[in-house]
Amino acid sequence: MTRRSPGGWRRVFGIPLVVGIAGILGLVSALVFEGPGRVAAWIGVGLPLALVVWFVGRAYGGRSASRSGSPRPG
Protein backbone atom coordinates (compact mmCIF):
# COMPACT_ATOMS: atom_id res chain seq x y z
CA MET A 1 0.00 0.00 0.00
CA THR A 2 1.11 3.52 -0.65
CA ARG A 3 0.29 6.46 1.49
CA ARG A 4 -0.87 9.56 -0.34
CA SER A 5 0.70 12.77 0.83
CA PRO A 6 -1.76 15.65 1.11
CA GLY A 7 -2.21 17.37 -2.23
CA GLY A 8 -0.22 14.60 -3.88
CA TRP A 9 -2.59 14.14 -6.77
CA ARG A 10 -2.40 17.83 -7.48
CA ARG A 11 1.38 17.62 -7.80
CA VAL A 12 1.09 14.72 -10.23
CA PHE A 13 -2.04 15.65 -12.17
CA GLY A 14 -2.12 19.45 -11.66
CA ILE A 15 -0.17 20.44 -14.75
CA PRO A 16 -1.69 17.71 -16.99
CA LEU A 17 -5.14 18.90 -15.89
CA VAL A 18 -4.36 22.53 -16.76
CA VAL A 19 -2.87 21.45 -20.11
CA GLY A 20 -5.92 19.32 -20.87
CA ILE A 21 -8.41 22.06 -20.03
CA ALA A 22 -6.43 24.63 -22.04
CA GLY A 23 -6.42 22.23 -24.97
CA ILE A 24 -10.17 21.59 -24.86
CA LEU A 25 -10.92 25.32 -24.52
CA GLY A 26 -8.62 25.99 -27.46
CA LEU A 27 -10.28 23.35 -29.60
CA VAL A 28 -13.73 24.76 -28.90
CA SER A 29 -12.76 28.44 -29.16
CA ALA A 30 -11.68 28.23 -32.81
CA LEU A 31 -14.93 26.45 -33.57
CA VAL A 32 -17.02 29.25 -32.06
CA PHE A 33 -15.03 32.49 -32.54
CA GLU A 34 -13.26 32.98 -35.82
CA GLY A 35 -10.52 35.59 -35.19
CA PRO A 36 -9.45 35.59 -31.52
CA GLY A 37 -10.73 32.04 -31.18
CA ARG A 38 -8.07 30.87 -33.59
CA VAL A 39 -5.28 32.50 -31.61
CA ALA A 40 -6.65 30.94 -28.42
CA ALA A 41 -6.63 27.58 -30.19
CA TRP A 42 -3.01 27.96 -31.27
CA ILE A 43 -2.02 28.71 -27.69
CA GLY A 44 -4.21 26.14 -25.94
CA VAL A 45 -3.69 23.25 -28.37
CA GLY A 46 -0.01 24.12 -28.83
CA LEU A 47 0.74 24.19 -25.10
CA PRO A 48 1.68 20.46 -24.94
CA LEU A 49 4.29 21.03 -27.66
CA ALA A 50 5.85 23.89 -25.72
CA LEU A 51 6.05 21.71 -22.60
CA VAL A 52 7.61 18.83 -24.53
CA VAL A 53 10.23 21.13 -26.05
CA TRP A 54 10.92 22.68 -22.65
CA PHE A 55 11.34 19.46 -20.66
CA VAL A 56 13.12 17.45 -23.34
CA GLY A 57 15.40 20.40 -23.98
CA ARG A 58 16.12 20.69 -20.26
CA ALA A 59 16.89 16.98 -19.89
CA TYR A 60 19.10 16.66 -22.94
CA GLY A 61 20.25 20.23 -23.25
CA GLY A 62 23.09 20.16 -20.72
CA ARG A 63 23.86 21.09 -17.19
CA SER A 64 20.52 20.69 -15.46
CA ALA A 65 20.24 17.10 -16.63
CA SER A 66 21.69 15.64 -13.45
CA ARG A 67 19.49 17.79 -11.22
CA SER A 68 16.29 16.65 -12.86
CA GLY A 69 17.55 13.09 -12.75
CA SER A 70 16.98 12.56 -9.05
CA PRO A 71 13.61 11.61 -7.73
CA ARG A 72 11.93 13.86 -5.23
CA PRO A 73 12.74 12.97 -1.64
CA GLY A 74 9.92 11.72 0.54
Binding site: V12, G23, G37, W42
Partner: protein
Amino acid sequence: MTAASIRAWSFVHTWTSLICTLFMLLLCLTGLPLIFHHEIDDWFGSMTEASPATGEKAPESRIIARALADHPGKVVQYVGWDTHEPDHVYVILHDSPAGDPNASTSKVYDVRTAAPLGEPGSAFMRVMLRLHVDMFAGLPGTLFLGAMGLLLVAAIVSGVVLYWPFTRRLDFGTIRPRRSRRVAWLDLHNLLGIVTVAWLVVVGFTGSINTLAQPLIGYWKQAELGAMIAAHAGRPAPARLAPFDAMLARARAHAPGMAPGFVAFPGTPFTTGHHFAVFLRGDTPLTSRLLRPVLLDGETGAVADARGLPWYLTALLVSQPLHFGDYGGLPLKIIWALLDVVSLVVLGSGLYLWWTRRARGGAPAGAALPEAARA
Protein backbone atom coordinates in the same frame (compact mmCIF):
# COMPACT_ATOMS: atom_id res chain seq x y z
CA MET B 1 -2.72 2.10 -5.36
CA THR B 2 -1.96 -1.53 -4.55
CA ALA B 3 0.51 -3.59 -6.52
CA ALA B 4 -2.38 -5.79 -7.63
CA SER B 5 -4.39 -2.90 -9.04
CA ILE B 6 -1.30 -1.52 -10.76
CA ARG B 7 -0.82 -4.91 -12.38
CA ALA B 8 -4.46 -5.00 -13.47
CA TRP B 9 -4.36 -1.50 -14.99
CA SER B 10 -1.03 -2.30 -16.56
CA PHE B 11 -2.57 -5.38 -18.16
CA VAL B 12 -5.40 -3.25 -19.58
CA HIS B 13 -2.98 -0.59 -20.81
CA THR B 14 -0.62 -3.10 -22.40
CA TRP B 15 -3.23 -5.07 -24.28
CA THR B 16 -5.57 -2.30 -25.39
CA SER B 17 -2.49 -0.47 -26.69
CA LEU B 18 -0.89 -3.48 -28.34
CA ILE B 19 -4.04 -4.45 -30.21
CA CYS B 20 -4.58 -0.98 -31.66
CA THR B 21 -0.95 0.16 -32.04
CA LEU B 22 -0.36 -1.16 -35.54
CA PHE B 23 -3.55 0.50 -36.80
CA MET B 24 -2.84 3.69 -34.87
CA LEU B 25 0.58 3.86 -36.51
CA LEU B 26 -1.15 3.53 -39.88
CA LEU B 27 -3.71 6.20 -38.95
CA CYS B 28 -1.07 8.63 -37.62
CA LEU B 29 1.14 8.16 -40.68
CA THR B 30 -1.66 8.52 -43.25
CA GLY B 31 -3.33 11.26 -41.19
CA LEU B 32 -0.19 13.39 -41.33
CA PRO B 33 -0.47 14.24 -45.06
CA LEU B 34 -4.28 14.38 -44.78
CA ILE B 35 -3.98 17.35 -42.41
CA PHE B 36 -2.44 19.28 -45.30
CA HIS B 37 -4.53 17.79 -48.10
CA HIS B 38 -5.49 21.22 -49.46
CA GLU B 39 -1.87 22.31 -49.68
CA ILE B 40 -0.62 18.97 -51.03
CA ASP B 41 -3.36 18.82 -53.66
CA ASP B 42 -2.39 22.31 -54.75
CA TRP B 43 1.21 21.17 -55.27
CA PHE B 44 0.67 17.73 -56.76
CA GLY B 45 -2.81 18.00 -58.22
CA SER B 46 -3.39 18.40 -61.92
CA MET B 47 -5.86 21.27 -61.71
CA THR B 48 -5.50 24.39 -63.78
CA GLU B 49 -5.87 27.78 -62.15
CA ALA B 50 -9.30 29.34 -62.00
CA SER B 51 -9.98 32.53 -63.94
CA PRO B 52 -9.12 35.82 -62.21
CA ALA B 53 -11.70 36.63 -59.55
CA THR B 54 -13.62 39.17 -61.61
CA GLY B 55 -16.89 39.07 -63.42
CA GLU B 56 -20.18 37.34 -62.92
CA LYS B 57 -20.60 33.80 -61.71
CA ALA B 58 -21.83 31.40 -64.35
CA PRO B 59 -25.29 29.94 -63.74
CA GLU B 60 -24.93 26.47 -62.23
CA SER B 61 -27.05 25.02 -65.04
CA ARG B 62 -24.29 25.96 -67.49
CA ILE B 63 -21.71 24.14 -65.38
CA ILE B 64 -23.94 21.08 -65.14
CA ALA B 65 -24.54 21.09 -68.91
CA ARG B 66 -20.80 21.35 -69.46
CA ALA B 67 -20.10 18.46 -67.06
CA LEU B 68 -22.66 16.25 -68.79
CA ALA B 69 -21.19 17.12 -72.19
CA ASP B 70 -17.70 16.27 -70.89
CA HIS B 71 -18.88 12.90 -69.58
CA PRO B 72 -21.24 11.29 -72.11
CA GLY B 73 -23.40 8.55 -70.65
CA LYS B 74 -22.99 9.72 -67.07
CA VAL B 75 -25.46 11.44 -64.75
CA VAL B 76 -24.79 14.13 -62.16
CA GLN B 77 -25.01 12.88 -58.56
CA TYR B 78 -23.94 15.98 -56.66
CA VAL B 79 -22.96 19.59 -57.17
CA GLY B 80 -20.96 21.10 -54.32
CA TRP B 81 -19.16 24.22 -53.12
CA ASP B 82 -16.13 24.37 -50.81
CA THR B 83 -15.87 27.41 -48.51
CA HIS B 84 -12.06 27.17 -48.78
CA GLU B 85 -12.17 27.31 -52.61
CA PRO B 86 -14.64 30.03 -53.65
CA ASP B 87 -13.58 29.83 -57.32
CA HIS B 88 -14.50 26.16 -57.66
CA VAL B 89 -17.69 24.24 -58.27
CA TYR B 90 -17.47 20.48 -57.71
CA VAL B 91 -19.50 18.12 -59.85
CA ILE B 92 -19.67 14.42 -59.03
CA LEU B 93 -20.87 12.13 -61.82
CA HIS B 94 -21.61 8.44 -62.05
CA ASP B 95 -23.08 5.84 -64.38
CA SER B 96 -26.26 5.81 -62.28
CA PRO B 97 -27.56 8.07 -59.49
CA ALA B 98 -27.09 5.44 -56.75
CA GLY B 99 -23.71 4.09 -57.91
CA ASP B 100 -20.89 3.08 -55.56
CA PRO B 101 -19.34 6.29 -54.10
CA ASN B 102 -15.80 4.94 -54.53
CA ALA B 103 -16.33 4.59 -58.28
CA SER B 104 -17.69 8.08 -58.96
CA THR B 105 -16.01 10.75 -61.08
CA SER B 106 -15.28 14.16 -59.53
CA LYS B 107 -14.58 17.23 -61.62
CA VAL B 108 -13.91 20.84 -60.70
CA TYR B 109 -15.34 23.67 -62.81
CA ASP B 110 -14.58 27.36 -62.83
CA VAL B 111 -17.31 29.22 -60.95
CA ARG B 112 -17.25 32.10 -63.52
CA THR B 113 -16.36 30.61 -66.89
CA ALA B 114 -17.80 27.09 -66.32
CA ALA B 115 -14.58 25.75 -67.82
CA PRO B 116 -13.30 22.41 -66.52
CA LEU B 117 -10.29 22.81 -64.19
CA GLY B 118 -9.48 19.14 -63.65
CA GLU B 119 -9.98 16.51 -61.00
CA PRO B 120 -9.93 17.54 -57.37
CA GLY B 121 -7.19 16.06 -55.23
CA SER B 122 -4.28 13.92 -56.27
CA ALA B 123 -3.82 10.16 -56.62
CA PHE B 124 -1.46 10.17 -53.63
CA MET B 125 -4.01 11.82 -51.36
CA ARG B 126 -6.76 9.49 -52.55
CA VAL B 127 -4.64 6.48 -51.51
CA MET B 128 -3.85 8.11 -48.15
CA LEU B 129 -7.53 8.81 -47.60
CA ARG B 130 -8.66 5.27 -48.39
CA LEU B 131 -5.95 3.80 -46.13
CA HIS B 132 -7.02 6.18 -43.38
CA VAL B 133 -10.76 5.71 -43.76
CA ASP B 134 -11.27 2.03 -44.55
CA MET B 135 -7.94 0.38 -45.52
CA PHE B 136 -9.59 -0.39 -48.90
CA ALA B 137 -12.00 -2.71 -47.06
CA GLY B 138 -15.22 -0.69 -47.33
CA LEU B 139 -17.63 -0.25 -44.43
CA PRO B 140 -16.25 -3.21 -42.39
CA GLY B 141 -12.78 -1.65 -42.59
CA THR B 142 -14.17 1.70 -41.44
CA LEU B 143 -16.07 0.19 -38.51
CA PHE B 144 -13.00 -1.86 -37.55
CA LEU B 145 -10.89 1.31 -37.40
CA GLY B 146 -13.65 2.90 -35.29
CA ALA B 147 -13.37 0.03 -32.82
CA MET B 148 -9.59 0.52 -32.77
CA GLY B 149 -10.22 4.17 -31.93
CA LEU B 150 -12.30 3.14 -28.92
CA LEU B 151 -9.49 0.78 -27.82
CA LEU B 152 -7.16 3.76 -28.07
CA VAL B 153 -9.42 5.71 -25.73
CA ALA B 154 -9.32 2.76 -23.29
CA ALA B 155 -5.52 2.68 -23.59
CA ILE B 156 -5.37 6.42 -22.84
CA VAL B 157 -7.64 6.12 -19.78
CA SER B 158 -5.58 3.24 -18.35
CA GLY B 159 -2.41 5.16 -19.20
CA VAL B 160 -3.64 8.14 -17.18
CA VAL B 161 -4.37 5.84 -14.21
CA LEU B 162 -0.86 4.36 -14.45
CA TYR B 163 0.67 7.82 -14.70
CA TRP B 164 0.08 8.19 -10.97
CA PRO B 165 2.21 5.29 -9.60
CA PHE B 166 4.90 5.87 -12.22
CA THR B 167 5.43 9.56 -11.62
CA ARG B 168 4.12 10.42 -8.16
CA ARG B 169 7.63 10.69 -6.68
CA LEU B 170 8.99 12.67 -9.60
CA ASP B 171 8.74 16.31 -10.56
CA PHE B 172 6.45 16.92 -13.51
CA GLY B 173 8.31 16.47 -16.78
CA THR B 174 11.24 14.57 -15.28
CA ILE B 175 13.34 12.82 -17.91
CA ARG B 176 16.36 10.85 -16.69
CA PRO B 177 18.72 10.50 -19.64
CA ARG B 178 21.58 9.41 -17.36
CA ARG B 179 19.70 6.35 -16.18
CA SER B 180 19.16 3.34 -18.44
CA ARG B 181 17.81 3.87 -21.93
CA ARG B 182 14.61 2.17 -20.83
CA VAL B 183 14.06 4.62 -17.96
CA ALA B 184 14.63 7.57 -20.28
CA TRP B 185 12.09 6.21 -22.76
CA LEU B 186 9.64 5.49 -19.94
CA ASP B 187 9.93 9.09 -18.76
CA LEU B 188 9.49 10.34 -22.30
CA HIS B 189 6.48 8.05 -22.85
CA ASN B 190 4.91 9.38 -19.63
CA LEU B 191 5.52 13.05 -20.43
CA LEU B 192 4.51 12.94 -24.10
CA GLY B 193 1.52 10.76 -23.29
CA ILE B 194 0.14 12.84 -20.44
CA VAL B 195 0.39 16.24 -22.15
CA THR B 196 -1.33 15.01 -25.32
CA VAL B 197 -4.17 13.17 -23.53
CA ALA B 198 -6.88 15.76 -24.23
CA TRP B 199 -5.96 16.20 -27.89
CA LEU B 200 -5.62 12.48 -28.56
CA VAL B 201 -8.90 11.64 -26.80
CA VAL B 202 -10.69 14.28 -28.88
CA VAL B 203 -9.11 13.18 -32.16
CA GLY B 204 -9.52 9.47 -31.38
CA PHE B 205 -13.10 9.78 -30.20
CA THR B 206 -14.24 12.09 -33.02
CA GLY B 207 -12.50 9.76 -35.47
CA SER B 208 -14.50 6.87 -34.06
CA ILE B 209 -17.70 8.92 -34.42
CA ASN B 210 -16.77 9.61 -38.04
CA THR B 211 -16.57 5.90 -38.77
CA LEU B 212 -20.30 5.75 -38.05
CA ALA B 213 -21.08 8.27 -40.81
CA GLN B 214 -22.43 5.75 -43.28
CA PRO B 215 -24.75 3.91 -40.83
CA LEU B 216 -25.92 7.23 -39.33
CA ILE B 217 -26.76 8.66 -42.74
CA GLY B 218 -28.53 5.41 -43.56
CA TYR B 219 -30.58 5.67 -40.39
CA TRP B 220 -31.35 9.35 -41.06
CA LYS B 221 -32.60 8.46 -44.51
CA GLN B 222 -34.89 5.82 -43.08
CA ALA B 223 -36.18 7.77 -40.09
CA GLU B 224 -36.11 11.50 -40.91
CA LEU B 225 -36.02 11.58 -44.66
CA GLY B 226 -38.70 8.91 -44.58
CA ALA B 227 -40.95 11.24 -42.59
CA MET B 228 -40.12 14.17 -44.87
CA ILE B 229 -41.15 12.31 -47.98
CA ALA B 230 -44.11 10.39 -46.57
CA ALA B 231 -46.46 12.81 -48.26
CA HIS B 232 -44.75 12.16 -51.58
CA ALA B 233 -44.43 8.41 -51.24
CA GLY B 234 -44.35 6.37 -54.38
CA ARG B 235 -43.59 9.26 -56.71
CA PRO B 236 -41.62 8.07 -59.72
CA ALA B 237 -38.26 9.42 -60.75
CA PRO B 238 -38.71 12.81 -62.47
CA ALA B 239 -39.33 12.38 -66.20
CA ARG B 240 -37.75 15.76 -66.76
CA LEU B 241 -35.62 17.55 -64.15
CA ALA B 242 -36.72 20.98 -62.96
CA PRO B 243 -34.48 23.88 -64.09
CA PHE B 244 -31.55 23.78 -61.68
CA ASP B 245 -30.99 27.53 -61.18
CA ALA B 246 -34.61 28.27 -60.30
CA MET B 247 -34.70 25.25 -57.99
CA LEU B 248 -31.54 26.40 -56.19
CA ALA B 249 -32.89 29.96 -55.87
CA ARG B 250 -36.01 28.58 -54.14
CA ALA B 251 -33.86 26.60 -51.71
CA ARG B 252 -31.81 29.71 -50.92
CA ALA B 253 -34.93 31.78 -50.39
CA HIS B 254 -36.19 29.14 -47.98
CA ALA B 255 -33.10 29.47 -45.74
CA PRO B 256 -32.09 33.15 -45.63
CA GLY B 257 -28.51 33.81 -44.55
CA MET B 258 -27.38 30.36 -45.57
CA ALA B 259 -25.48 29.22 -48.65
CA PRO B 260 -25.77 25.89 -50.44
CA GLY B 261 -23.09 23.38 -49.46
CA PHE B 262 -24.10 20.69 -51.89
CA VAL B 263 -27.05 19.53 -53.94
CA ALA B 264 -27.99 15.87 -54.18
CA PHE B 265 -29.76 14.93 -57.39
CA PRO B 266 -32.88 12.73 -57.32
CA GLY B 267 -32.07 9.07 -56.74
CA THR B 268 -28.72 9.61 -55.01
CA PRO B 269 -28.08 8.29 -51.48
CA PHE B 270 -28.78 11.67 -49.84
CA THR B 271 -32.31 12.16 -51.12
CA THR B 272 -35.34 10.39 -52.56
CA GLY B 273 -35.91 9.11 -56.04
CA HIS B 274 -38.11 12.11 -56.80
CA HIS B 275 -36.49 15.07 -55.02
CA PHE B 276 -33.50 17.31 -55.14
CA ALA B 277 -31.98 17.78 -51.69
CA VAL B 278 -30.16 21.08 -51.18
CA PHE B 279 -27.95 21.10 -48.06
CA LEU B 280 -27.44 24.67 -46.89
CA ARG B 281 -24.92 25.86 -44.35
CA GLY B 282 -24.24 28.94 -42.23
CA ASP B 283 -21.20 31.18 -42.43
CA THR B 284 -19.42 30.85 -39.06
CA PRO B 285 -16.84 28.09 -38.36
CA LEU B 286 -19.47 26.19 -36.38
CA THR B 287 -22.63 26.82 -38.42
CA SER B 288 -20.77 26.21 -41.69
CA ARG B 289 -20.52 22.59 -40.50
CA LEU B 290 -24.20 22.28 -39.72
CA LEU B 291 -26.23 21.50 -42.78
CA ARG B 292 -29.89 22.23 -43.25
CA PRO B 293 -31.54 20.01 -45.86
CA VAL B 294 -34.31 21.35 -48.07
CA LEU B 295 -36.17 18.88 -50.28
CA LEU B 296 -37.45 20.20 -53.61
CA ASP B 297 -39.65 18.48 -56.15
CA GLY B 298 -37.50 17.07 -58.93
CA GLU B 299 -39.97 18.03 -61.64
CA THR B 300 -41.38 21.36 -60.49
CA GLY B 301 -38.52 22.59 -58.29
CA ALA B 302 -41.00 23.56 -55.55
CA VAL B 303 -39.95 23.27 -51.91
CA ALA B 304 -41.41 20.03 -50.56
CA ASP B 305 -40.08 20.01 -47.01
CA ALA B 306 -37.25 21.29 -44.81
CA ARG B 307 -36.17 20.54 -41.28
CA GLY B 308 -33.07 20.69 -39.12
CA LEU B 309 -30.68 17.81 -38.79
CA PRO B 310 -31.22 15.36 -35.91
CA TRP B 311 -28.77 15.40 -33.00
CA TYR B 312 -26.75 12.43 -34.20
CA LEU B 313 -25.93 14.03 -37.55
CA THR B 314 -25.18 17.32 -35.78
CA ALA B 315 -22.76 15.39 -33.55
CA LEU B 316 -21.23 13.78 -36.61
CA LEU B 317 -20.77 17.10 -38.43
CA VAL B 318 -19.37 18.91 -35.37
CA SER B 319 -16.97 16.03 -34.72
CA GLN B 320 -15.46 16.33 -38.19
CA PRO B 321 -13.47 19.56 -37.79
CA LEU B 322 -12.32 18.37 -34.35
CA HIS B 323 -10.87 15.32 -36.06
CA PHE B 324 -9.44 17.09 -39.12
CA GLY B 325 -7.97 20.16 -37.38
CA ASP B 326 -8.76 22.24 -40.45
CA TYR B 327 -10.70 25.06 -38.80
CA GLY B 328 -7.98 27.24 -37.28
CA GLY B 329 -5.79 28.25 -40.18
CA LEU B 330 -2.36 26.92 -41.13
CA PRO B 331 -0.87 27.34 -37.61
CA LEU B 332 -3.46 24.94 -36.18
CA LYS B 333 -2.73 22.45 -38.96
CA ILE B 334 0.99 22.60 -38.11
CA ILE B 335 0.20 22.11 -34.40
CA TRP B 336 -2.06 19.18 -35.40
CA ALA B 337 0.78 17.62 -37.39
CA LEU B 338 3.31 18.05 -34.57
CA LEU B 339 0.89 16.51 -32.07
CA ASP B 340 0.45 13.67 -34.54
CA VAL B 341 4.23 13.17 -34.53
CA VAL B 342 4.28 13.26 -30.71
CA SER B 343 1.58 10.56 -30.76
CA LEU B 344 3.78 8.48 -33.07
CA VAL B 345 6.58 8.76 -30.50
CA VAL B 346 4.18 7.72 -27.70
CA LEU B 347 3.10 4.68 -29.75
CA GLY B 348 6.67 3.78 -30.68
CA SER B 349 8.04 4.21 -27.16
CA GLY B 350 5.15 2.19 -25.74
CA LEU B 351 5.99 -0.62 -28.13
CA TYR B 352 9.66 -0.36 -27.17
CA LEU B 353 8.86 -0.46 -23.43
CA TRP B 354 6.67 -3.52 -23.90
CA TRP B 355 9.32 -5.24 -26.01
CA THR B 356 12.22 -4.62 -23.63
CA ARG B 357 10.17 -5.78 -20.65
CA ARG B 358 9.32 -8.93 -22.55
CA ALA B 359 12.93 -9.44 -23.57
CA ARG B 360 13.95 -9.20 -19.92
CA GLY B 361 11.87 -12.26 -19.11
CA GLY B 362 8.34 -10.93 -18.98
CA ALA B 363 8.49 -9.60 -15.44
CA PRO B 364 5.08 -8.39 -14.27
CA ALA B 365 4.32 -4.74 -14.79
CA GLY B 366 4.68 -3.91 -11.09
CA ALA B 367 8.30 -4.98 -11.23
CA ALA B 368 8.94 -2.48 -14.01
CA LEU B 369 7.96 0.38 -11.77
CA PRO B 370 10.70 2.72 -10.72
CA GLU B 371 11.71 1.74 -7.20
CA ALA B 372 10.44 5.04 -5.83
CA ALA B 373 6.94 4.30 -7.05
CA ARG B 374 6.76 0.96 -5.29
CA ALA B 375 7.35 2.30 -1.82
